[in-house]
Symmetry: C2
Subunit: 348 residues, 2 copies
DNA sequence: GTTTAGCACTCTATCTCTCTGAGTGCTAAA
DNA sequence: TTTAGCACTCAGAGAGATAGAGTGCTAAAC
């Protein structure tokens, strides 16, 4: 049985009201707040049917209705209208991202912070997935004898560095040369194809320094770990504490379950990855309540979207909020931030 | 009126019991759990006096007593015995910090993580206060035309980098030369004495590249911002979510107040700084309940201590937990972690 | 067939009342 | 100074009672 027009309106109104007040919506209240041209009894019939079809739930017999996960799903899929961000709000976000960012990490940090402030929920920003990106530069900088800073620059604009230890007696020149050799041999190679072996052959094919093999291998191993480490995703998450002010998390147990999960960056990042793959074609990904396979997030909704770096490599930003979230607003906010990121990263 | 021996014992027993159970302690329960050789009536008299002197409080007339801030203070100042860490626990911490850390940031991250795991409370680790440290190296690395990575190395072992934008047409050599000139002119200079002017004079006194003044100034300005940015304290904080399982934070409002404050790294860092100055001579700093001037932390206690880098520059690590904290255990844990850090950073 | 008025019914939240028990403070004796 | 004894206090738990929001159903109206 499909939803007739009035039922759609009723569902939409109930979601809207519940989002606003976090209180079960009754037929009377619905009539009061909206211009239905029918009586409350009619709405009651509609609501009973909507419940039977699984779109609504009752906390108990004599309460109003609240949307089920399926109800929210219908709402975001076909009922809500995503309105454009108000000029004012767009301006606010723009301002927060207006500082010049020449490193992707700072941009993402700012984006996550803006998103958290603007939505009032938990924001998320992840560095680009690097497996598909490639090495553009590798510099080895001697900080003091025996200590070398390996700077790895990736095509996605990601810069990472790692301090490594090498034998004391190597000179800055020798180390820099090895770095150059590796860089020449590997630049342009996708990260996924870089292994200890490729590093070694690259270096040995290009370098001019005469060094015993064992020694050279030691340095190369450190360079390799530095490159591999650059592969790690960074996750920026902000605004967690705001969830505590929501009525759905007034129960500490629930909040704890949520925070426990969120404290594992890796879990969240992995989940975002998975969802992104599932909804590859879509502009944004939404997961509602039980649809989320992360523990402790069954009272939440999760919205993510993908930004692009130079049209190729992509990372994610997103928002985690209560199921009772202002979906259309959050979506437009996320979209706006994504556009801003895309724009800033388009310049080569 | 000073505390006689039995009163001290009573206070100590009450703190111990309350720490263990988070329930007001009555005279009867006290007799049951401890070997006082007197009757409950005698203890009642003692407890009444302790209350009058401000060491104990009553939640209401017919409940047991709980320690007041003053009571906790007396406890940590003269009653508790700081026991040595168990070998087992020492081993666990050692293990967590056993990876080789050649960058101070990673070491602190690991330390904070170990401290949070081990205490079950909120841990804190801050990079060294850098004002007293000095610049040892400054490298400028061209990533692509117009984009330069400025790597700043400070005496405290802190390495920071910042991507900056410069005019497109400058070459790697030119940029590197400017970097060298700045480094030569400034190395050894305390950060506090580095200003845009000192940077400029340093560079102009040492550099050989012929560049129009305006252009040079632009590059120098970027180098200067990079140096100044290296000055920022980094704060690593972990284990916040654990507080939600404590009965004192079962009220979400309270938890929210705490988290609100803790989400401002700067506030916390500033406070730690202040406290450290006040208790300069002490091995560790303790602030209890209302003694803490940060909003939302009046149900908490704050313990910090100072680690050293090469005997000179110093940073802080610490723990935030409920007033009802296992003080002696936490103190020995913090001390142990500090010793580990000191040791790892002693090697030049 | 759809809509509506009317009404009995259900269930939570709230309030009040009572009871219980842990714990106190005080008094008087040891 | 310590102790036994006892009256007193108060939070918390449990039991009704009540109010009110909301429901579902029936029968009439459109």
């Amino acid at each position: 049985m499909a939803l007739d027009n009035r039922k759609k309106e009723v569902l939409q109104a109930i979601v809207d009201d519940y989002v606003a007040n976090c209180e079960p919506v009754g037929s009377k209240a619905l009539i009061d707040r909206h211009d239905f041209m029918v009586s409350s009894a009619t709405l009651r019939n509609d609501m009973a049917e909507l419940e039977q079809m699984g779109y609504l739930e009752k906390p108990h017999t004599s309460a109003g209705r609240i949307p089920s996960d399926k109800g929210y799903r219908e709402y975001v899929d076909s009922l809500m209208k995503v309105d454009k961000l108000s000029d004012e709000e767009g301006k606010e976000i723009k301002e927060k991202l207006s500082v010049s960012f020449d490193e992707i990490a700072s941009l993402l940090k700012a984006a996550s912070s803006a998103l958290a402030d603007q939505t009032g929920y938990i924001s998320l920003a992840m560095t680009p997935k690097l497996t598909s990106s490639y090495l553009t530069q590798l510099k080895m900088l001697m900080i003091e004898p025996g200590k070398v800073l390996v700077v790895v620059v990736l095509s996605a604009g990601v810069v990472k560095n790692r301090m490594v230890r090498i034998p004391d007696f190597l000179t800055q020149d020798q180390v820099a040369q090895i770095g150059n050799a590796v860089e020449q041999g590997l630049s342009g190679l996708p990260l996924s194809e870089i292994s200890l072996i490729t590093v070694a052959t690259a270096a040995k094919g290009n370098q001019k320094v005469e060094l015993p093999d064992a020694l050279l291998n030691q340095v190369l191993y450190e360079a390799y770990t530095a490159i591999k480490q650059a592969d790690n995703l960074d996750v920026y998450m902000q605004g967690k504490h705001r969830m505590l002010s929501l009525p759905e998390f007034s129960d500490t147990k629930r909040a704890q379950g949520l925070f426990d999960t969120l404290s594992h960056d890796g879990l969240v990042a992995g989940y975002v990855d998975e969802v992104t793959k599932q909804d590859e074609k879509k502009e944004y990904m939404i997961r509602i309540g039980q649809e989320i396979t992360l523990e402790g997030l069954d009272e939440c909704s999760f919205i993510t979207t993908t930004y692009n770096v130079g049209g190729k490599v992509a990372g994610n930003i997103g928002v985690i909020g209560p199921k009772r979230m202002e979906y259309s607003k959050v979506i437009s906010q996320i979209n706006f931030v994504r556009m801003m990121i895309d724009e800033k990263l388009k310049q080569p």
